[in-house]
Amino acid sequence: MLASTASIINCVAGVNGDTPTEITRADVDEVVRTLLNNNAYTVLDNIEGQDKFGTAPVRDAYFALCSSNLTGNLDAVQGFIHKNNYPQTGGLRSEWGSIGNLRFLVSSIGSVTPVGSMLGANVYNIFCVGMEAYACIEQDGYSAQFIYRPPIYDGPLALNASVGYKFAEVPRITNDLWVLNLRATLA
């Protein structure tokens, strides 16, 4: 839903010669500035600094949801703080780290637009979301049902079971100003 509908910003400050370029600190700053100007609330509070070697305080942050293929590029961005450098343990399980006011959550099924760049490379969609930017509406009092019927319901000989699923859930952007799709290619 976010890939189809959300507003976009192309990364343009990279040097890979493509459109969009690879992600850079300037692109992250542009997204954060836009969300701030649109009065989006951050989702996570800051993490205060502590007197521990190799750690750094982490700003309050918007979520940035993206593909795990971007992890190498994220590592190379100026100001990147890996979650093992946070002052306290407790980074989210899927979290990779933070840059400025974005904390990046990665997934192997993160959104990718195939052959979406100027040079024909895959474009990675990084959904940068503020508080309550989108919602899921459960229409019949449930989101999804996985239904198993044992063989006894199939027929007099109870030969076949059945399995199925159904959804009664609709995602919806609640305020388009609070979600941005930062599009990037790989370096």
């Binding site: 839903m1 976009i8 459109t19 052959v115 100027m118 027929g155 076949n160 609709v170 995602p171 388009d176």
Partner: protein, 345 residues
């Protein structure tokens, strides 16, 4: 009757192009009957087509008239007859966002609309197909954009129907975008905005905005009309007949005094495209204009279905293909069945 033996049926009149039938559930077998060809006695006309899971995509077992009589012979679409192979039946899953193969574009001409010259227009349907251009040698500002195709000259050219500004692009590639993004309403790239009391916007791909919907415009500085950037407007009129010069939406924004909209030159890359994004519904306007106030509702448009292939250029191939010839009356039935994998004794 057990689950997994759900049967669906339907009928349609062929258009001369591939026919896509969204189904309520997946299918394991499909039968297609071309009533027009069955009634006639046209030599090499395909009569019926049968496909079941396990067969190759775009294949089918088919019967046909081997002579100009009602006598019937059997073959498969892939094997063919009369020295040709034919289009059969394929399973479709629109959640698959894989694009078509890369096909060379020899040039994009600075016509109005621009023409993408190519020696291969297979499966490109005039006023229907969406293509993605990329790696254009001198048209970086159009590379990675999707365009609805207008007029097609077979294996020669495709018009970028909704690109009002003539831009040369040089050589590159295109791929067919098989399916729209899954969710409606969709964001679309802008190729033109007029200076008018009610601005008229054209998008590169045939849009699906409706009257009464509210939309927001993002117009980066590279496109000139920066006054439009960030504004929201209500759609008051639309024209989506997919031919050159159409595919517009009119909004209640007075752009008369705005800087002219101009597509950037290649040197401006990289930049972010100008686009229009749906943000909601102007309920009052929708009611006044007599449209559905739920037109902006988010909908997952994904489907499982089948494609009945045909050939919109070569009539002899269309005659023996599952999708038939324009105006053929076709009936179909499709169903689920258990896979019986017991080794025969």
């Amino acid at each position: 009757m057990s689950d997994n033996t759900i049967i669906q049926q339907g009928t349609f009149v062929a258009t001369g192009n591939d026919v896509i039938l969204p189904l309520r559930n997946d299918v394991d077998w499909v039968k297609v009957y071309n009533l027009t060809n069955i009634a006639a006695a046209t030599q090499w006309a395909g009569l019926d087509f049968y496909w079941q899971r396990g067969m190759a995509q775009d294949d089918a077992i088919t019967s046909y008239h081997a002579a100009a009589t009602q006598a019937v012979s059997l073959s498969t679409c892939a094997t063919g007859y009369n020295g040709a192979v034919y289009r059969g039946i394929s399973l479709l899953d629109s959640s698959d966002q894989t694009l078509g193969p890369a096909i060379a574009v020899t040039n994009v001409t600075a016509a109005n609309p621009p023409l993408a010259l190519t020696a291969n227009t297979a499966n490109v349907i005039a006023n229907s197909t969406i293509i993605r251009l990329y790696s254009l040698a001198t048209g970086q500002q159009m590379s990675s954009m999707d365009f609805s195709v207008g007029a097609v000259v077979a294996n020669t050219s495709m018009a970028l129907a909704h690109m009002p500004q003539p831009l040369a692009g040089g050589a590159g590639f295109y791929r067919i975008v098989n399916y729209n993004p899954l969710y409606y309403p969709r964001r679309r790239w802008i190729t033109g905005i007029t200076n008018a009391a009610q601005a008229v916007i054209r998008t590169s791909v045939t849009h699906d905005f409706h009257v009464g919907e509210q939309v927001r415009f993002i117009v980066p500085a590279a496109f000139g009309m920066t006054q439009m950037n960030g504004l929201t407007g209500t759609v008051v009129a639309r024209n989506v007949i997919g031919t050159t010069g159409n595919n517009t939406l009119t909004v209640d924004i007075d752009s008369t005094a705005f800087t002219a909209f101009a597509f950037p030159l290649a040197a401006a890359a990289p930049f972010t495209y100008a686009y229009v994004v749906p943000v909601g519904e102007n309920t009052g306007a929708a009611l006044t204009l007599g449209t559905n106030i739920l037109d902006d509702a988010t909908v997952n448009t994904g489907f499982l279905g089948i494609r009945l292939g045909t050939d919109n250029v070569t009539a002899a191939i269309a005659l023996g293909s599952a999708g038939g010839t324009a105006n053929d009356v076709i009936r179909w039935i499709a169903g689920k069945s258990f896979a019986h994998n017991v080794v025969p004794l």
